[in-house]
Structures are given as structure tokens and as C-alpha cells.
């Protein structure tokens, strides 16, 4: 078997392409992989700690990191290069050079409380039946998992997560629900996810978290970020209500 190509083992010069006049993307690999994710997360942290003038923000994704900047400020900087692409690339390559000497930061671990089934998880039985399990088995398997947040995308605060046990894999609903409550925990295929906002959706809903996955008034509006690791903890209705009171 041919080993998956991993650019990040030999990462200078970085593979960079322009996304727009204000952004470039650094490609670190080609496949979804936890090591690659941690590498991207590390690189992102280092870049934010050692930013260049004109840097606006960064967007991590499965295999790459996109860097947004203000071209007017970058052009005024003394980074080597004739155009922004060269100047920004020069800085990013400097970051890649530092990184080799640094050890990896430990990923954030968050516990997400979920009230499974009942009014909060109308499709718990569907998931159980589809996989020839009891509802309690579904909860046990879902809470036993250790999940990785690969990236935030799709809608504000939505985490693309990996790590769900295939024993829970269930196809999406044939007809999407018109309204899914914010905080709903769902399964679609072999993925699990949490709806951060009230939206229509086709996922099988097995429970709900009282946590606000997205809150525009928080300094970090999205509760989760790329690189985080999470586990789910089953709570009952009384605990759910207690959480909601606190929030």
C-alpha cells in the first residue's frame, strides 16, 4: 500500500496558492488525518503569535490553512518580495522554519453535555433500529467516543467532527426537517454534529446540548474551533434545565 503523501514532513518551502487578492492558502496534505490537523493547528497558533503586519485572520480547514491580509499594509511592510503573494509567502516560510523546533501544543478538550432522546432527540429510535441497537446502546456508544473537530464551516459555529463509531452510522432523513432547534446533536452517514443555530436540516437528531454552540456576543462566538477534541456526556432533563438556568 502506498503511504499517504504528507507534505508537512518536509515543509519548506511551503505549498502556497493565492485564493484572492487578500488571501493565500497553504496546503499541508491531502487526506483527513489527526496528525495533519494537529500540525495545521500548531502552525496556525505560531502564525498568530508571530503575525505579520496586515494579517487579518486565518481559516483552518481539513488539509490547509488560509491566511487573510490587507494588501495595502502588506505592501508597505519590509518583507522580501515585489508583490503581496511573495511577501506573505516569505513570512509563512519563516514560521515553518521556527515550527520544527517547537513541540506540539496540547489540544483543547471539551465535554459537551447532551440530553439524549425524548423531545430533544426524536430520531434516537431511528438510529437505534437502523443499527440493530437499543436506544441506550446508542447513547453509550455516542458518549464513549473521542471526537476531533477538524474545522468550523457551513454555518456560524458548525464543527466538522471526526471520530464517530461506525456502529451508529445512519443515513440522513429523506425529507429534511423544516426547523431544527439550536444545540441539536445529530447523525448523518458516519458523521456526528451539533446544530449551532436554528436551521432546516436533514440529520437524525438524537439529543440536545444546553450549551450555546454559537453566541455572537461572546468574545469567541463559536464554542468549538479547529483542533479541539470533544467527548459527549449524557445528562437528564433536570440537569439540562439547570445548565440553561446558568447560561
Amino acid at each position: 500500500m502506498i503511504k499517504e503523501e504528507r507534505y508537512f514532513r518536509t515543509n519548506i518551502p511551503l505549498r502556497i496558492y493565492g485564493l484572492s487578492e487578500k488571501s493565500v492558502t497553504i496546503t499541508f496534505g491531502t487526506e483527513i488525518d489527526n496528525d495533519l490537523l494537529d500540525h495545521i493547528t500548531d502552525f496556525n497558533h505560531l502564525l498568530l503569535e508571530n503575525s505579520f503586519s496586515g494579517l487579518i485572520t486565518t481559516v483552518p480547514a481539513y488539509t490547509n490553512l488560509t491566511v487573510f491580509y490587507d494588501p495595502l499594509i502588506v505592501m508597505l511592510s519590509d518583507l522580501p518580495g515585489e508583490v503581496c503573494f511573495e511577501k506573505v509567502s516569505a513570512h509563512l516560510n519563516k514560521i515553518a522554519a521556527i515550527e520544527k523546533e517547537k513541540s506540539r501544543l496540547t489540544a483543547n478538550h471539551l465535554v459537551i453535555p447532551v440530553c439524549y432522546g425524548g423531545d430533544f432527540g426524536h430520531d434516537l429510535l431511528t438510529v437505534a433500529r437502523h443499527n440493530n441497537l437499543l436506544e441506550t446502546d446508542v447513547i453509550d456508544i455516542h458518549t464513549a467516543g473521542y471526537y476531533t473537530v477538524f474545522m468550523i464551516g457551513f454555518v456560524p459555529g458548525f464543527a466538522y467532527m471526526g471520530g464517530m463509531d461506525n456502529k451508529l452510522a445512519t443515513p440522513r432523513k429523506e425529507v429534511p426537517a423544516a426547523k431544527i432547534h439550536a444545540g441539536s446533536v445529530g447523525i448523518a452517514g458516519n458523521q456526528t454534529g451539533i446544530y449551532p443555530l436554528e436551521t432546516p436540516g436533514g440529520w437524525q437528531i438524537i439529543g440536545r446540548t444546553p450549551l450555546k454552540m454559537f453566541d455572537a456576543n461572546r468574545s469567541q462566538p463559536s464554542l468549538l474551533k479547529g483542533g479541539d477534541r470533544i467527548t459527549f456526556k449524557a445528562i437528564d432533563q433536570a440537569e439540562f434545565n439547570a445548565y440553561e438556568m446558568e447560561i
Binding site: L19, K22, T58, A61, P71, M151, V155, P156, G157, A216
Partner: protein
């Protein structure tokens, strides 16, 4: 300064230069679709570019000045009319309390920006006043403007705004004799959209790339602030690869599974999983913002460096405009 909305029009929202700081949390940029018109409307009343304006889609809207107001407008969706008289665009306009101003149709485009001296004052959310309707964020309670909404301006005016206002009042004028020349910033052929080829360009066969750069594409009915579906010759992938979701940005042109083009606009998702064939040059994005369903465009290729040079040139021109207006009013 204060206005009340008599008729809100089809889709009117508060917008500014958007939210860039929260992209990693999947919060879209939003902001004015036609950033150029938004900025020119602001400049004409002495505002900073980032002050909030109202983005009107098409016309059929009207509002009333509840206090004396200093406003200006820019864009191609509508003309402002007062007392059956057409008001010039890209100029400061002074109206006394009680004046009723209407927007009438301008067939040229779709979106018009209304600036007020001091900017429209709505709360900042994630460092911006822009409305993002999908998640109900920003602007006026996260929604589009409605009949009877009252909008007020920020209380702190720039020195230039005060001077413009005072001079119009002293001379009992509605507007001065100068205006910003928006035409000089826009290319003559407005249906020609310059693009830079994107990272997945080599996923497509040569015939597809050729037809992308030579044939006409029409803005489909499925078009909104998130993006435009373009009707035209479908493109064919020569590799059977799938793209893992990755950052996209307004101006990105994606190719869907059926080979159709989607041009992403201000409210687009922050990440996408379709291969990207090209990116609209930032200087031509305002032209795209004025496109309506049924309009036809052609793409022409420029290099990444050319696109950057055009962008920097446009920014230099825009700062010269600000300087010229301020020199007109402030003795140095």
C-alpha cells in the same frame, strides 16, 4: 439625523465593509455587495469608508427625513427623487425635516447605497454593523428594513461632514457643484469580468477552460447575496477527484457536481467543497454586485499580479478622492 422608512423596498439591509475577523468560526464576511458604491456614498458625505450604509435592492422604496439630514447615494439600482426632481448621485445632499425621498428604478443595475453623515447607527456585532440575514445577525435586529423603521445617524461627525453640512446650510443649497466621478473608476465594458484562474483549474478539460473564458454566462434566478448561479455551458472535470472543504471567499467561482458555475458573493459560506475554477478580480466584484437575473457576462483572464496591481491602483484612486474632498473643505 433621523429618517423613517415609508416603503422598505424588496430587500434593504444595513451593511458596512463586513466581518473578516470571525471567518474561522464560519461567520461570513457579509457587508456591502458593491463595496465601491458603498464607499463612494460614504466619501461624498465626509464619512469613513467603513461607516454603515443602507443597501437597497432595486427601487420601490421611500423614506422621510425626520430631522434635517445630510445624505448621499451611489450604485445602479435606483435614482433618488425629491419633489419629482432627480437627485444627483455621489454628491452630498441636504434635506430639511419632513422631506420625502423616493427611490425610482435605474435599469442599469440592482443595488444602491444610502449613506448619512455619521453613518447609520446600529449596534456593532462581532466588530461590524453588517446584516447577515441567514443567521439573523447584525443590522437592525438581524433583519431587513421594514415599514416604519426609524434609523438614526451616529452622533459624532467627521470634521469634513460638518463643513459640508454648514456650507450647504449657509448657502441654502441642496447639493454643491462638485461630485465624485464613479464612472472614472469603472471599466467601460461592464459585462466583461476579469478573473484569476484558481487552484483546481487543472481539474477541468481544455475545452471547458476555453468555454469558460470565451462563452457567455447568464445570471440565473437562483441568485442572492450568498452567490449567483450562472447559466451557460457546463464544465467537465477531467479528474474524478473530490475537494475537501476549504476556505472560499466572495469572488470565488465554484463548479458544482453537475458542472454549473456558482459565483460566491458577500454572504457566502466561509468554506466550500466544490472545485474552484477562478476568482473574480477584486476590482470587478462591484460590477458583479450590480448584476441582475438575466444579465449576461463574459470572463477574461488576468494574472494574479495584475489583479493585485489593479486592486492597489483602485485603493490609491480612492484615497485621492478622500483627500480631494477634505482639501476642498479644510484649509491646511
Amino acid at each position: 439625523m433621523k429618517i423613517s422608512i415609508i416603503k422598505p423596498g424588496l430587500l434593504s439591509t444595513i451593511q458596512d465593509m463586513g466581518r473578516y475577523k470571525f471567518l474561522s468560526q464560519a461567520v461570513p464576511v457579509s457587508g456591502a455587495m458593491d463595496e465601491l458604491a458603498h464607499r463612494l456614498a460614504n466619501k461624498a458625505v465626509g464619512n469613513d469608508d467603513h461607516f454603515a450604509t443602507i443597501e437597497f435592492s432595486y427601487a420601490d422604496a421611500s423614506f422621510k427625513a425626520e430631522t434635517p439630514i445630510l445624505i448621499s447615494y451611489s450604485g445602479d439600482g435606483a435614482f433618488l427623487v425629491y419633489n419629482n426632481e432627480l437627485m444627483p448621485a455621489e454628491k452630498p445632499l441636504f434635506f430639511s425635516a419632513g422631506s420625502v425621498i423616493r427611490l425610482i428604478n435605474n435599469a442599469m443595475g440592482m443595488r444602491t447605497y444610502l449613506a448619512v453623515a455619521g453613518g447609520w447607527d446600529v449596534p456593532d456585532l462581532m466588530e461590524s454593523k453588517s446584516t447577515y440575514l441567514t443567521a439573523g445577525l447584525g443590522g437592525v435586529n438581524g433583519r431587513k428594513l421594514e415599514k416604519a423603521d426609524v434609523l438614526i445617524s451616529g452622533t459624532i461627525l467627521n470634521e469634513v461632514s460638518i463643513k459640508i453640512l454648514n456650507r450647504l446650510i449657509e448657502r441654502s443649497l441642496t447639493y454643491p457643484n462638485w461630485r465624485i466621478s464613479r464612472e472614472s473608476l469603472l471599466p467601460e465594458k461592464r459585462q466583461k469580468i476579469r478573473v484569476v484562474l484558481a487552484n483546481e483549474i487543472c481539474w477541468f478539460d481544455a475545452t471547458s477552460i476555453l468555454s469558460f473564458l470565451t462563452s457567455n454566462y447568464t445570471i440565473d434566478l437562483r441568485s442572492n447575496r450568498m452567490g449567483y448561479h450562472l447559466a451557460g455551458k457546463p464544465l467537465v472535470k477531467k479528474v474524478q477527484k473530490e475537494l475537501l472543504s476549504t476556505a472560499v471567499t466572495p469572488g470565488t467561482i465554484q463548479v458544482t457536481g453537475s458542472g454549473d458555475l456558482v459565483m460566491l458573493m458577500a454572504d457566502c459560506q466561509t468554506t466550500g467543497g466544490y472545485p474552484r475554477i477562478a476568482h473574480v478580480a477584486a476590482v470587478d466584484l462591484p460590477l458583479c454586485a450590480q448584476l441582475k437575473p438575466g444579465d449576461s457576462i463574459q470572463f477574461s483572464e488576468i494574472s494574479r499580479d495584475e489583479a493585485e496591481e489593479l486592486y492597489l491602483e483602485r485603493e490609491r484612486d480612492l484615497s485621492l478622492i478622500t483627500m480631494a474632498i477634505s482639501l476642498k473643505y479644510i484649509k491646511t
